[in-house]
Point group: C2
Chain length 332, copies 2
C-alpha cells in the first residue's frame, strides 16, 4: 500500500510521519500533500485562542472529549506554541493534555514548536490541518497561545474562532489592546466560578459592541433586515458569550451547541465557502513568497549577499538601495 | 530646508510626517529613509515585552521619565499593538500614556496599529526605529503586547530585550509555554508588592536554567572560563532579575543600571555589532520578499491568479501545483 493510501485508511504511524514531513516542509511531505489535497475540505476547523491563564488547554481537552463521546467524528488537536528561538516550545503541553484523551484512537494531538521564520506558524499550521483533513479528522481544533499577530493569522485559518477569556485577567483596556475579540465567532468566559465573572461579561459585551458596530446596527434594525436576502446574512451573526468551567466539564454542551449554530450560519450564509476560499488564498500567497525567495537565493552567490549586508551594516548604503542592486543584478 | 534636513534638526512635525510615511511604506517614506539611513546606528534599542496585565506600559513610562530626568538623551517609544484585522488597534494607549510625558519635547511616543500583513509588524517597526534613530533619539523603547511570534520577532530588533512578568499570572507551565523568557536579556518582576512575588522569582530562576543550559554550565565552570578569550563573552551574560513597582517608580534605578551593564557587555563582547548586523540582515530579507512578491503580482494578470485560487478551492489542483504553474508561466 502506498504511503498516502495508508494515511487515507487511518494508519496512525503513517499519519505521524506525514505530520512531521509537513511541519518540516520536506519534499516528500509536499509530494504527499499534493496527492492528498483532493481529499481535503471536509473538516470543520475550530480555532481556540486567548491569553495565557484562561484555561484554553482544558477547554480544548473537554471539547475533544465531548465530540468523542457524543458523535462518531474523529478529532485532531493542533496546539501551536509560540516559537522559542533557541530550543523550541511545547515542553509540557502533550503530557498534561494526553491524560484524558490517551488511548482513544479517534483522537490525534499534535503540538507544534515553531521556529522563527516569519509566516512560518500560519503556513505550517495550514499544512498540518490539511493532513488531518485528508486523513478523515472531521473536527480539527487549532489551539493558539497568546494574543499576538500570529494568533490572528492562525485564527484566520479556522471556520469558527473561539476566543477564551477568564475573570480577573486585567481590565478593559487590555481587552481592547489585545484586539482579538474582533476575530471571535464565539466568546467563552472560562473559570466562570471565579469572582468577577459579571464584570468580565459586562466588559466583553461593551467591547463586542465597539468591535462589531455594524452588527449592533443590524440588531437595532432586526425587523427590517430579516426581510433581506440571505447574502447579507454574514453580518447577522452576533458572537454569543458562553460561560464554562472546563476543569469540571461545565458549559461544554452549551459551547458545542453554539459551535453547531455557527456552522449552520456559515453554511446558510455562504461564509463556509468564503472562508475556505480566503484561507487557501492566503496559503498560496505564503507559498508563493517562499518559492520566490528560494529562487532568488538560488540565483545569488551567498558571498555577494553577505557583502551587501556588510555594506548596509557599515551604513555605506541603505537597505532599499542594497535591495535594488541585488534584484536588478540577478533577476532583470 | 529639505524634508530630511528638518528631521535631522529636530522638527517634530516633519518627524511625525515621516513616521506616518514609514508606517505606510510610501514611496516618499522610502526615499527619505534612504537619505537618512547614514545617520542611523547610534541609538540603543530596548525591547520591552510580556503578557497583558504585567504593567509594561507603566514600566516603559517610568523608564522614559528616568532617562529624561537623569540624562540628556532624547527618548522615543514605539508601542506595537497587536493587529486588529477590522479597525486597527491602539485605541487608548496614547492618551493613558501621555499624561506623565506630555510637554517634554525630548520624548516622542508612537503607537502602531498594524494591519494583518505577515511580517508587517517587524518591518514597520524597523522603519519607525530607523526614523527615530536618524532623528537623534538615543534611547528607543519598543513595547510589544502579548507573547506570540510577532513579539519574538520584534524583540529581535532590540539590543536589549526586557521581559516583564508579574506575580500571580498563571503558573510555571504558562511561563515555559510562552517561551519568550529565552529571549530575555533582563527579567523584570513588576508589581513586586503583590503576594506571590517569591514564587514568581523562584519559577523564573528555574525556567531561566532550563532556557539557558549553556549559561548554567558557564557559571559552574566560571573559574576556567574566565581565562578564555573575550569572543566567548557573549555566553557569559546571565539575565538578571529586577523587581519593580512601576506605578510607584520603585526599582527603576536598578533596572536602568542593569540596562547599562548589558550595554557594556554588548560593547565588550562584540554582540552590539553582531545584533545590529543580524537585525539589518533580517530587515533586508523582509524587504526582498516584499519586492519579489510585488514584482510577481505586477507580472501576472489578476484574473489568472483568481482563477487559480478558484481551482484550488474546488480541489481541482493542489496549492503546490498551482504555484508551480503560476511561477513557471510568468517568471521563467
Amino acid at each position: 500500500m502506498s504511503f498516502t493510501q495508508s494515511i487515507l485508511e487511518g494508519n496512525r504511524l503513517a499519519l505521524a510521519r506525514l505530520l512531521t514531513q509537513a511541519e518540516n516542509d520536506s519534499a516528500e511531505g509536499r509530494a504527499a500533500l499534493t496527492e492528498l489535497f483532493q481529499y481535503t475540505g471536509r473538516a470543520h476547523l475550530i480555532g481556540v485562542t486567548g491569553a495565557p491563564g484562561t484555561g484554553k488547554s482544558s477547554l480544548v481537552n473537554q471539547l475533544a472529549l465531548y465530540y468523542r463521546k457524543n458523535t462518531d467524528k474523529k478529532v485532531a488537536i493542533v496546539a501551536v506554541d509560540p516559537s522559542s528561538p533557541f530550543t523550541g516550545g511545547a515542553v509540557l503541553g502533550d503530557r498534561v493534555r494526553m491524560r484524558d484523551l490517551s488511548g482513544d484512537s479517534g483522537v490525534f494531538i499534535r503540538s507544534m514548536a515553531t521556529r522563527g521564520a516569519l509566516g512560518g506558524i500560519a503556513q505550517k499550521t495550514a499544512s498540518l490541518v490539511q493532513v488531518f483533513d485528508a486523513a478523515g479528522y472531521e473536527i480539527i481544533i487549532i489551539e493558539t497561545v497568546g494574543a499576538g499577530q500570529s494568533e490572528v493569522d492562525v485564527a484566520r485559518l479556522a471556520h469558527t474562532t473561539i476566543v477564551v477569556e477568564a475573570p480577573g485577567l486585567g481590565d478593559e483596556i487590555q481587552a481592547i489592546k489585545a484586539g482579538i475579540l474582533e476575530i471571535a465567532d464565539i466568546l467563552v468566559i472560562n473559570k466562570a466560578d471565579r469572582p468577577g465573572v459579571e464584570n468580565t461579561e459586562r466588559a466583553l459585551r461593551s467591547t463586542l459592541e465597539l468591535a462589531h458596530p455594524t452588527k449592533r446596527v443590524v440588531r437595532h434594525h432586526g425587523a427590517t433586515m430579516s426581510m433581506a436576502a440571505p447574502t447579507i446574512d454574514s453580518t447577522m451573526w452576533i458572537p454569543p458569550i458562553v460561560k464554562t468551567i472546563a476543569t469540571e466539564g461545565k458549559g461544554i454542551d452549551e459551547l458545542v451547541q453554539s459551535i453547531a449554530k455557527h456552522v449552520e450560519h456559515l453554511r446558510q450564509s455562504g461564509d463556509w465557502a468564503a472562508r475556505d476560499h480566503a484561507r487557501l488564498g492566503s496559503e498560496m500567497d505564503l507559498l508563493i513568497r517562499e518559492a520566490l525567495m528560494d529562487r532568488f537565493l538560488e540565483n545569488i552567490p551567498q558571498k555577494k549577499y553577505d557583502e551587501m549586508i556588510e555594506k548596509v551594516a557599515n551604513r555605506n548604503i541603505s537597505p532599499y538601495e542594497a535591495i535594488k542592486l541585488l534584484l536588478n543584478g540577478n533577476l532583470k
